[in-house]
Amino acid sequence: MSKYEISQGKFAKYGKILLRYIAVSLFAIPFIIPFFWMVTTALKQSEQVFAIPVVWWPKPVEFSNFTKAWNSAPFSVFFKNSLIVTCTSVIGTVFASAFTAYGFARVRFPGRDLLFVFMLATMMIPADVTRIPLYLIFRRLGWINTLKPLIVPSLFGGAFYIFLLRQFFLTIPASLEEAAYIDGCSSFLIFWKIFLPLSKPGLLTVAVFSFLAHWNEFIGPLIYLNSEKKYTISIGLRYFLYEQGGYYNLLMAASTMALLPCLILFVFTQRFFIKGIILTGLKE
C-alpha cells in the first residue's frame, strides 16, 4: 500500500465520521425546534411575537414574561396540587410495584406463573373501559373535586411497572439471597435489605415513568376537578390558555414552567432511564 493510498483512506474515514455527525444533527432539528420555539417565544415582547417576518432571537430578552405568567393565574396552587398528586403516586407506585415484582420474580408459590400471565393480560384493558365505573364509584364516595381519585389507584402498583421490575429482579444473582435464607433471613428482610438497594436503576426508571405519567395526566383531572383550588398543572394550563387567548409569550412561559420538572428529571436520570427501557424493550 502506498503512502498516498493511506492518506486517502484517512481522509475518507474522517469524511465519513463528519457525514455521520451532520446526518445525526440535521435529523435532530425537527425534534428539538419546538422546544427552541417555546423558549424563544417565552422570552419575546408581545410585538415580537406577532412580528412578520418572524423574529428568531428575542431582543430584548423579556424574562419578566415568566413572572407575569406566574402571577396571572394561581400557578403556585396548580404546581402544589400536581406535586402532591405526583409525589404520593410515585412513592406508592414504586413501592407497591417493587413489592409485587419481588413476589413474582423470587418467591415460589402455587399459581404464580399463571397469575403473572394474567397480570400481563390486564395491561391490555383500555383505561377508557374502567374509567367510567371508577368515576361513578368515586362520585358515590364523595371524592369529586378532591385529589384522591388521582392518587389512590396508583398506590397498588401498575402492571407494566411490576413487569419491568420483575425483569430487573431476575437479573440479580440467586447466590445472594440463598446465603441470606440459610442464615434465617425472612423474604421481607431480603427484599428490603438486598433487592431494593441493588435495584436503584430499575426503581428510578419506574419512578420517572410514573412521574411523567402523573405530571402530564389530563383526562383524570379534567373529569374529577372542578374548582381552581384543586386544579393540577395540566388543567391549570388549559384554564390559562382559554383565559389568555393569543398571548403566546405568556403561554409559552407557562408551558416552559410546566415542562421543566419533566425535562430536568429526564436529563438527570436518562442514563438509567433509557437503559431501563431497553432492558424490557417494551413501553408504549
Binding site: V24, M119, T122, T130, R139, F218, L282
Partner: protein, 306 residues
C-alpha cells in the same frame, strides 16, 4: 457446606413459608387489580346494557345501546374513521422514522449519548403544555412552520383551522412525540444483531444499503411487528389530550379532531350517558382485544434470528 443441611421437614417448612410470603408480596397488585380493573370491568359490562344518567336508577335495556351505536350514531362512525385515519397515519410513519433514527443513533461516534437524549426529549413531554406549544408552532400567520414554509415560497395551510389539515397536524404531533419510544426499542433490536453477519457481508463486498436490506431489516422484523401492533393498540387510545386542547374541547372544525376516545368522553362526562359510553368503551376493548390476539397468535411468522 452450609451450617443447616436442609432436611425434609426444613424444606417443607420453607416451602410453606414461601407460599404464604408469595401471596403477601403480590397482595397489593391483587387488591389493586380487583378494585380498579376487574371490578370496574364487570361493572362497565353490565352498564353497557343499561340506560343510566346518574340521577335516575340504571334501567336494563338489552342491546339497545349497541343497536343505537351502529344504526343511528353518525358521530360513532365519524370518530371511528378519524381514529383509523390517525392510526394508519401515525403508526407506520413513526415506525419508519423510528428505525431510521435508531440506525443513526447506533453509530459508534463520540457524544452519541447526547443525541440519544435529544431524540428522546419529545417523549417525556406529553400533555397540555406540549399541545399549547404546537398550537403556537402551527399558527397560520405567526407560527413556526408557516414562517419556514413562506421562506421556501410556499403558502402554509391553516393547520388547525382547515378540517382537512387537522388530522395531518395531529399525526405530525403524535409522530414527533413517539420517536423516542420507537427508537429505543429498535436500538435494542439493532444491538441484538450478531456482528458476524455484517462482517461476513463485508467480505462478500456488500454495500451499506445491501447490508441494511438483507441483514438489518430481516433481523428487525420481530421488533417491527411488535412495534406496529403495540403502536396500533396504543394509538387507538391516545391523543385525547391534544385533540381536546387544540380544539378547545369542541372536536375541531367539522369534528375533524373528534377521535373515538373523545366520543366516549363526551357521552360519559358531558352528556352523562353512562350506559351508552360503556357500550362505546367495550367496542374499543374488543378492537384492542382482537389486535392483541393477532400479536400473540402471529408473532410466530416473523423471522427470529438464531
Amino acid at each position: 457446606m452450609p451450617k443447616a443441611y436442609p432436611t425434609r421437614e426444613r424444606i417443607a417448612k420453607v416451602w410453606y413459608k414461601y407460599r404464604l410470603d408469595g401471596f403477601i408480596f403480590i397482595l397489593p397488585w391483587i387488591i389493586g387489580t380487583l378494585a380498579f380493573q376487574l371490578g370496574p370491568m364487570i361493572n362497565s359490562f353490565i352498564l353497557a346494557f343499561t340506560r343510566y344518567d346518574i340521577i335516575t336508577p340504571a334501567k336494563f335495556i338489552g342491546i339497545e345501546n349497541f343497536k343505537k351505536i351502529f344504526s343511528s350514531d353518525p358521530l360513532f362512525y365519524k370518530s371511528l374513521w378519524n381514529t383509523v385515519y390517525f392510526v394508519t397515519g401515525s403508526v407506520p410513519i413513526s415506525v419508519i422514522i423510528g428505525i431510521l433514527v435508531a440506525v443513526l443513533l447506533n453509530q459508534r461516534i463520540r457524544g452519541i449519548t447526547i443525541y440519544r437524549v435529544l431524540y428522546y426529549l419529545p417523549s417525556v413531554t406529553a400533555g397540555v403544555a406540549v399541545a399549547i406549544v404546537w398550537m403556537s408552532v402551527y399558527d397560520v400567520r405567526y407560527g413556526l412552520i408557516n414562517n419556514l414554509l413562506s421562506k421556501l415560497g410556499i403558502q402554509g395551510p391553516s393547520w388547525l383551522g382547515d378540517p382537512s389539515w387537522v388530522m395531518p397536524s395531529l399525526i405530525i404531533m403524535a409522530v414527533w412525540g413517539l420517536i423516542g419510544q420507537r427508537y429505543v426499542i429498535f436500538l435494542a433490536g439493532l444491538q441484538g444483531i450478531p456482528e458476524e453477519l455484517y462482517e461476513a457481508a463485508e467480505i462478500d463486498g456488500a454495500s451499506s444499503w445491501n447490508k441494511f436490506v438483507s441483514i438489518t431489516l430481516p433481523m428487525l422484523t420481530p421488533t417491527i411487528f411488535f412495534s406496529l401492533i403495540t403502536g396500533i393498540i396504543s394509538a387507538f387510545q391516545s391523543m385525547f389530550t391534544t385533540a381536546y386542547i387544540i380544539t378547545n374541547g369542541s372536536g375541531g372544525p367539522l369534528n375533524s379532531a373528534y377521535i373515538y376516545v373523545f366520543h366516549i368522553y363526551r357521552n360519559a362526562y358531558e352528556y352523562y350517558h353512562m350506559g351508552y359510553a360503556c357500550a362505546l368503551a367495550w367496542i374499543l376493548f374488543l378492537i384492542v382485544f382482537i389486535l392483541t390476539f393477532i400479536q400473540v397468535k402471529f408473532s410466530g411468522w416473523v423471522h427470529y434470528g438464531g
